[in-house]
């Protein structure tokens, strides 16, 4: 999984594939690891993400919750129109910062 920037306070994830059940386990571990490093500004790059399933939404919310506890925020960028609509309907745009 390509990682773009490596700064102590900021981190961007680029899964590059659908955020669905099959990859959620790994994805969660990676997010967890970053959080343990004390990084509070995490951005997820949704390029090439065509679908987010329930498990995907779960991990995103969990990440938000974890970050909120630490006083950080989860941001999302390059969100495709479909996923944007989904987030919007589910009111997840109030939880995630959609860039």
């Amino acid at each position: 999984m390509p990682k773009t920037k490596k700064k102590p306070t900021k981190k961007t994830f680029k899964p590059g594939k659908d955020i669905i059940a099959s990859m959620v386990g790994d994805f969660r571990k990676k997010l967890q690891k970053v959080l343990e490093q004390g990084i509070k500004d995490i951005t997820i790059d949704f390029s090439n993400v065509a679908e987010v399933d329930s498990m995907g939404i779960g991990v995103l919310i969990a990440a938000c919750n974890s970050l909120e506890n630490e006083g950080g925020t989860l941001k999302a960028k390059n969100v495709s129109e479909n996923i944007y609509l989904l987030f919007k309907i589910m009111k997840l745009d109030q939880k995630l910062v959609l860039l």
Binding site: R28, D53, M55, G58, I61, A62, C64, N65, N82, M90
Partner: protein, 1057 residues
Amino acid sequence: MSIQDDDTLRLYIEESGEHLADIENDLLAIESAGADIDEELVNKVFRAAHSIKGGAGFMGLNNIKELSHKMENVLGMIREREMVPNPEIINILLMAADVLRNLIINADASNDIDISDHVRALVSLSEGVTSDEEDESEVVDIPFPNRDEVFTISKNEISNMRKKGNFIYVVECDLINDIQLKDKTPTEFINKIEESGVILDCKIDTKSVGTLDEDLFKSNIPFVILYATILEPGMINVIFDVKETHLFVLEEDLTVNPVTESVSNEVSVSEGQEAITIEEEIQTEREESQVEDIHTVTIPVQVEEPVSDIKTTKGPTGVDTSLRVNVSLLDNLMTLAGELVLGRNQLLQAITQKDNHTIEASGQHLDLITSELQGAIMMTRMQPIGNVLNKFPRVVRDLARNLGKEVNLIIEGEGVELDKTILEAINDPLTHLVRNSVDHGLETPDERRKRGKDEVGQVFLKAFHEAGQVNIEISDDGKGMDGGKLAAAAVEKNLLSEQQAMAMSEKEKVNLIFLPGFSTAEKVSDVSGRGVGMDVVKTNLDKLGGVVDIDSTIGEGTTIRIKLPLTLAIIPSQLISTAGERYAIPQVNLEELFRIPAAQVKDRIEKVGDAEVVRLRGNLLPLIRLTDVIGLDSEYIDPYDKESKSDRRKNISDRRSKKSPLFNEDQEPESEEISLNDEESESYERGPERRYHSSSALNIVVVYTGALKYGLIVDELHDSEEIVVKPLGRDLKYCEGYAGATIMGDGRVALILDVAGLSRMANLTSLDGTDRAHEVAREQQFKNQKDVQSMLIFRNAEDEQFAAPLGLVERIEKIKRTDIEEVGGKKVLQYRGTSLPLFSIEQVANVKPIADKEDLLVIVFIVAGREIGLLATPPLDAIEESIVIDNTTLKQTGIMGSAIIRELTTLIVDIFSLVEEINPEWFGDREIVKNMDGETATILYAEDSNFFRSQVREYMEGEGYNVIEAEDGVIALDLMKKNVDKVTLLVTDIEMPNMDGFELTEKVRKIDSFSSIPIIALTTMASEEDIIRGKEVGINDYQIKLDKEKLLESIYNFLKK
């Protein structure tokens, strides 16, 4: 005070219930009468309110007393003509009556229910003051059930949704359990629910998701939706598919109550929270359904002011656990019970005395009584459908009012009786359909005026018995549905392909709205606005064994027909067996039974894509083998040793025919692998047990489930029998293919097949194979349009088949070879005192010489006025078939063309050219008739068959005439008109597409310049009626097709005149 303890109270409640039962329709009648009040009617309602009030005062039911008192006041003013009953007033009275009913049903809690809004509304009416307008911008908080979050939404939005006939639900679904684990994605889920309603608001309870440190797979992601839809509570879960306990209804008083909350639960009295909708009551009470209930249903009414509760509930004991039964029916039951006792005594006595004869006799007697008793008891379960239909005036009125439409509802056949269970279950679907008719079917008064219709729309509800079933029709005279647009919408949604859509009939297209996931309220409104939850309606009706069908004409309206069985408990059904198991198919679903004899299996079964289909009267019927669907091994009964063996055929049409090389050696190979050319080579073994005899015949049950008709292949067909339906146990609930079970006379269990379920299991859709079906239908049509040719087939050499038009044959003689005389180089036959010249085909055409046989045939023709005999050999046969004649490939002198007849290439003999070739001197030149200007005559020739057209044209052109050809009557008429001054004679076929010869003649005769033109009709065989009819319309002469001489003679004669 509890209702059970108090007989007086119960009596009061029952009595008041009866008073209230009619109030609704009476109030509606008062409304429609307007200022011109029917005093008697007002008095009736007044008295009802008065009696309720009186009793309530006595019982200490103060709320009931107060409300009925206030209603009485208003009614009093109407009676005294101090007030004109306008819709607003009636509305308030209706709502008050609803609340009153609710209060009475929950009499012991009634004093705690808040009725102040209604009292105020009624008081303000009697004081001539209307109630205050609701604050438009007011917002309300709607609590999440079991969670501490709320939705904040404006009251206005909610009441707007309600005005459109929506119910509002709070639904909690779990992204993990309800979506992920059901193989859905959130996007799909949201799209699906947005198809059937509007998401007003929704939230994910993010708190309960937890953080990354928790195990996601075990946690829940609760997603709470505030949802508006017109689906009734009983149907809502079809969309969401969540736990029933997670579905809540937002009541008119803005409280949130579980959809599933059952009446038997304790009724909480605070703030009128006992609101329970009738739908689930029906479900919970179905088991104990000896109840006659006054059907009152949640009707979303425009809320002018907060209404505490307009719902109906039934008390725990149920006010209407009593059932009205006709006394004569009861008497009948008593008599039968008496008979039963007598029968029993007789039987007991006979058993003690071991008197076998009497035992048998009383056995028969008991049998008779039992059937009669069963019938009588069934009768008590039958309830008039009016119980359901009579609530619709109110539903329609309220909805129409909210939508600003004027609707006249006409109900017919209230007296038609249906089993109570069915009656209860059709309530929801019917309500849905009626509301759809009013909401989407009918146009607004403005639109109606523009289209020149009466501003008042009509909705008909009609129930009637037919063929042992109850039919319900819901029709409106609204805008109808545009099948084309529906099909286009379905294509857009990828529910079917464009080709499929093109192949569909208008009716099929309209029925598309029953497809799951078809349409949405908003998106289709410009198309037709139907389809919301129509698939749900269909599913519900399917469950009842009902069938639903739509007919719609754009601009004229829509009719929806529902067919229901009379009762669910005992149904007539067809018994079949397959793989040694017996099954029952409900007669309602049965269209016909048919059997394809083994010899025809291969011809009649075709494969379209993956599906196997059979041709049935020009239609393609998809086939399902029952064993495949329910996963049994096919078996068959061996015709020789009567044992059942497993059947290994893969395709239905596979079989081992006698033609197969396997049987040539008169022995069956043990188990060698043989791949036959005419069958797909298959890798499995073809053992000796594969069948080729009568057991290869297919028994097909043609079943029908609404839009879909298919054939079910079974092993054996048995009797039809009335079976008692037993529900399947819980463990078998998910077996889609079965509707229930029954116990047969011999004590064995037979499963009842659910034909709709089976088709789903087989992934059968009515759309499959449509292209091919279309093609077949076209072929059939083509076939019907085409001339049927009568041909005589015979042989010359043994392996060459010939045919000649039967119409030219005079007779056929059998002769011996020795009868033929060769005189002067020519063959003749002494025949009736003259010499009959004999020819054989090989004299002219390049064909094999006539077989060297002792017995020969002479086919006698008349050519150029003489009889000639054509030598031939048997077999001889006459056929009447539509054959396609190829007039190029094998054409030669004496042979006009070829065709495939009886699977053999057959040469068609041109008898004229044959004779002409041998005896040209027989054909004297006729002078060609010319017109005044010295030009050759022009003949118009109308004929649809290419073969005949070119053939006859050749004859005529050969003679020197100019010929104009036309492929059918319409073209011929057109050409006649264009060539008024040229055409001097018309030769026409009779059977032609678009316009036949008779019609053409009639039309031609009407054209002035053609009023006396000679018209010659050509047919293969002219029947007497045809000739008479032809004379009537003005046909001058009939000639047989291909009788060149006579035709030319006739043309000559006419032109010469």
